[in-house]
Amino acid sequence: MADAMSLPAAAARPRRRAPGAWAEALAGWTLAGPAIVLMWLMLLGPAVGVIGLSFTDWTFGAPQIAWAGAANYVELWGDRVFWQSLRNTLAYVAFTVPASVFLGLGVALLIEAGDRGRGLYRALFFLPVTSTLLAMALVFQFAFHPTVGLVNQALGWLGLPTTDWLKNPDTALYALGVIGIWQALGLNMVLFLAGLKAIPKDLYEAAAIDGADGAWDRFVRVTWPMLGPSLVFVVTITAIRSFQVFDTVAVLTEGGPNKATSVLLYQMYQEGFSFLRSAYAAALTCVFLAFVLLLTWAQTRLLDRRAHYG
C-alpha cells in the first residue's frame, strides 16, 4: 500500500487541477484499486465469462473451444429436464416465499404486540437462520422418514394421511420447501421487527384520535401501509434466496425422484460438474441470472411506486 499521501500544502507548479485534487485522486485510485481488481477478477469478469462461455461448445478439459452461437440455448429450449427444473424452481419459490414472508410478518406482529418474552421468542425464531442447513437437513430427513419419522408419527396420531415425503414425487419438492420456510422465517421476522420499530408512535396516536383505535383499524390504516417498503424488500430477498435453493436438493433428494426436485442450480451443477458440459451449464447459469435480475428489477419498480414517503 502506498504511504504518506498527505495533501501538499502549497501549489507547486500550475497544473490543470490543483495539486491537492491530484493527490486526492491518486489516493482514491490507490485505496480502491485492489478492491476493483479483485471485483473484476472474482465477480464481474467471471460473470461476463459465463455469458460468453454459454455461446461456445466447450466441455471441461476439451483441448479446443469453438463458437457455437445460440446452440446451447436452442438445446435448452428443447430440454425437458430444463423446463422441469424451471417449473420446480418457480413452484418452490411460489410455495416458500408467501409462507415464510407472512409467517415472519405474523410472528413479528405477535412479538411486538406484547411486552413479555420478546427476547426469548426472537431467539427461538432466529435460531434456525444461524444453523448449518445441511446438518439440519439430515434431521429433517429423519423426521420425514416414512415409519419412524416424527412427522408421520404425529400425522398418524392425528389420523391424517401419511406418505414417504421425500420419495414421493408429488410431495418431495414441498417437503424441501418446508425446510426452506423453516430457515427463512427467522430472518424475515427480524427484518419485519425492524420495520415495525421504525413506525413512529405518534402516527398511531394521531390515528387513535382520528378514530382508528381498534386492532384491525390500526393495522389497516397505519401498520400495513407503513410496512410497504419493508414488505417489498423482504419478499425480494426471500425470493432471490429461494431461487438459489441447492443444498437440500443436493443432499436429500439429488434432484429426484424422477427430477421432481430438480431445480435450476442443481441442474447447472450436474451439467457442469458431473457431466462436464461447461458451456451448457453456463447457459443454465445465464437463465438463472436473468431470473434473479428480473426479480430485482421488479423490486425496484415496486419500491419506486409505493415508497415515495420521504
Partner: protein, 390 residues
C-alpha cells in the same frame, strides 16, 4: 359548550411523580398556553386531556361530560402533534378526510376496494370531500391536495396538521409545540396565523410550549407549570406584572428579572449594603427576596439627589448596545448574578467599563425566602412614588 375542567390530576411514571394535583378551569373559547421548562409535565398533561395517557387520580370534564373513561376518539378533541404525525402514504386530501371517514362511514363502507360501491358510501364520501375543500381553502392547501407530505415544506405540513384537526370541528384543540420544528421567521408568521385561526373558529385551544414569547403573545390566559405543578394561571400581562412566585417572575421576561437578597433592618431592608425604605409584612420572613425588572432601573448619576428610593451600587462589567436601548451589566457586591438594567442609550453614553455605577428603582416585587409572593410592600416616608401593585 366547550369548557374544559381539570381537577386533582396526579400522575406518576413508576416511582417518579410527574403531576401533582393539577387543577385548571378553562373557559369556552379560551386560548390557554401550558408553558414551562422541559420536564415540567405540560406535555403529559396535554396527553392526559387527549386520552393518550391516563391520570392516576383526578377528573377531566369537557363541557358537562366527564371524559376520563372515554377513548380519545370519543372526546371530541383534536390534536396537532409536534412532528405533525401526517400519514406519509396518503395524499393531503386523504389525510384531511381520514377523521371524517372513520366517523361517518361504516366499516363496510370503509373497505379498501369494495367499500366504494357499498350503498350510501358514494353520497357520504362526496359530503366528506366537500368538507375537506372547505377546510383546505382558507389554509391555502387547495393546490396541494393531491400531494404527499414528503413533497411539502415544513410550513405546509403544519397547515395540513391544523386542517386535519379542524375538519372535525371539535370542541377542544390541543397543540403540542406545533411551532418548534419551524425556522424562526416562519414561526413568527405562523404564530399570528394560529391566533387568527382561534378567533375565527371560536373554539377552545390548549397550547403547549416551552417558549414564553409564544405563550405571552397568543394566549388569553397562561398556565405556567414547573415540576408538575401549576404555579400561576392568569392573563399574560398579569403574570408579568403580578407573578405569584419568584420562579414565575424569573421564567417570564427577557432579560431575566434581577433577584436581590435582602435582610431586615431598622426601618426597612438592607439590600446589597444599602438601605431601602421598604416595609414588608411579617409573613415575608427574615430573609426576603426582591426582584426588579431590568426596565425599572435608571442610572443614578453621581452627585445628583436620589430620585428613587431603591438604589444599588456597583461597577459596570459589560454593556450591550442594542440600538433602541442599552443593557448594562453591573456587578454588585453580595449579589451573585450581575444586575442587568435596560436603559435609554443616552443614559449609558457617559459610562465606562469598570467605572462605578448607581442604579435606582421605584418599582419592586417582594418574595419570601421560599419564593412566594408578598403583595403588600410599601415604600415608606418620602414621596410616595409608583409602588408595587398589591
Amino acid at each position: 359548550m366547550a369548557r374544559l375542567t381539570l381537577t386533582g390530576i396526579r400522575k406518576s411514571f413508576g416511582a417518579t411523580a410527574v403531576l401533582h394535583d393539577v387543577a385548571l378551569d378553562i373557559h369556552d373559547g379560551e386560548f390557554v398556553s401550558l408553558v414551562g421548562p422541559s420536564g415540567c409535565g405540560k406535555t403529559t398533561l396535554l396527553r392526559i386531556v387527549a386520552g393518550l395517557d391516563h391520570a392516576d387520580q383526578g377528573r377531566i370534564a369537557i363541557g358537562d361530560t366527564v371524559v376520563d373513561a372515554l377513548p380519545p376518539k370519543a372526546r371530541d378533541i383534536a390534536m396537532v402533534f409536534q412532528s405533525y404525525a401526517l400519514y406519509p402514504y396518503m395524499t393531503v386530501r386523504q389525510n384531511l378526510a381520514l377523521p371524517l371517514v372513520m366517523r361517518r362511514l361504516s366499516r363496510a363502507q370503509r373497505l379498501p376496494l369494495l367499500g366504494r360501491w357499498w350503498p350510501g358510501a358514494g353520497a357520504r364520501r362526496a359530503a366528506i370531500d366537500a368538507e375537506v375543500q372547505r377546510v383546505a381553502a382558507p389554509l391555502g392547501l387547495a393546490p396541494l391536495l393531491d400531494r404527499r407530505p414528503a413533497q411539502l415544506s415544513g410550513g405546509q405540513r403544519q397547515r395540513v396538521a391544523l386542517g386535519r384537526a379542524m375538519v372535525r370541528q371539535p370542541q377542544v384543540f390541543l397543540m403540542d409545540e406545533p411551532l418548534s420544528n419551524l425556522d424562526a421567521k416562519l414561526r413568527v408568521a405562523t404564530r399570528t396565523e394560529i391566533a387568527q385561526l382561534h378567533r375565527r373558529l371560536e373554539a377552545t385551544f390548549v397550547y403547549v410550549t416551552h417558549d414564553q414569547v409564544e405563550a405571552m403573545t397568543m394566549s388569553d390566559r397562561v398556565a405556567l407549570m414547573m415540576d408538575g405543578r401549576v404555579l400561576q394561571f392568569a392573563p399574560p400581562q398579569h403574570i408579568y406584572d403580578d407573578p405569584a412566585d419568584l420562579r414565575v417572575a424569573q421564567f417570564i421576561g427577557t432579560p431575566q428579572i434581577n433577584t436581590l437578597p435582602a435582610t431586615r433592618d431598622e426601618g426597612g431592608l438592607t439590600v446589597a449594603g444599602r438601605h431601602w425604605p421598604l416595609a414588608l409584612p411579617p409573613e415575608a420572613g427574615a430573609r426576603p427576596q426582591l426582584a426588579v425588572r431590568p426596565e425599572w432601573w435608571t442610572v443614578q448619576p453621581a452627585g445628583t439627589p436620589q430620585a428613587r428610593p431603591g438604589v444599588v451600587e456597583g461597577t459596570l462589567a459589560h454593556q450591550e448596545l442594542l440600538g433602541a436601548e442599552t443593557l448594562l451589566h453591573v456587578r454588585v457586591d453580595s449579589v451573585a448574578e450581575t444586575v442587568v438594567a435596560r436603559v435609554d442609550p443616552a443614559q449609558a453614553r457617559t459610562l465606562a467599563l469598570g467605572a462605578p455605577v448607581s442604579l435606582a428603582t421605584a418599582r419592586v416585587l417582594a418574595f419570601d425566602a421560599a419564593g412566594h409572593r408578598v403583595p403588600q410592600a410599601e415604600w415608606m416616608g418620602v414621596r410616595r412614588l409608583a409602588v408595587a401593585h398589591g
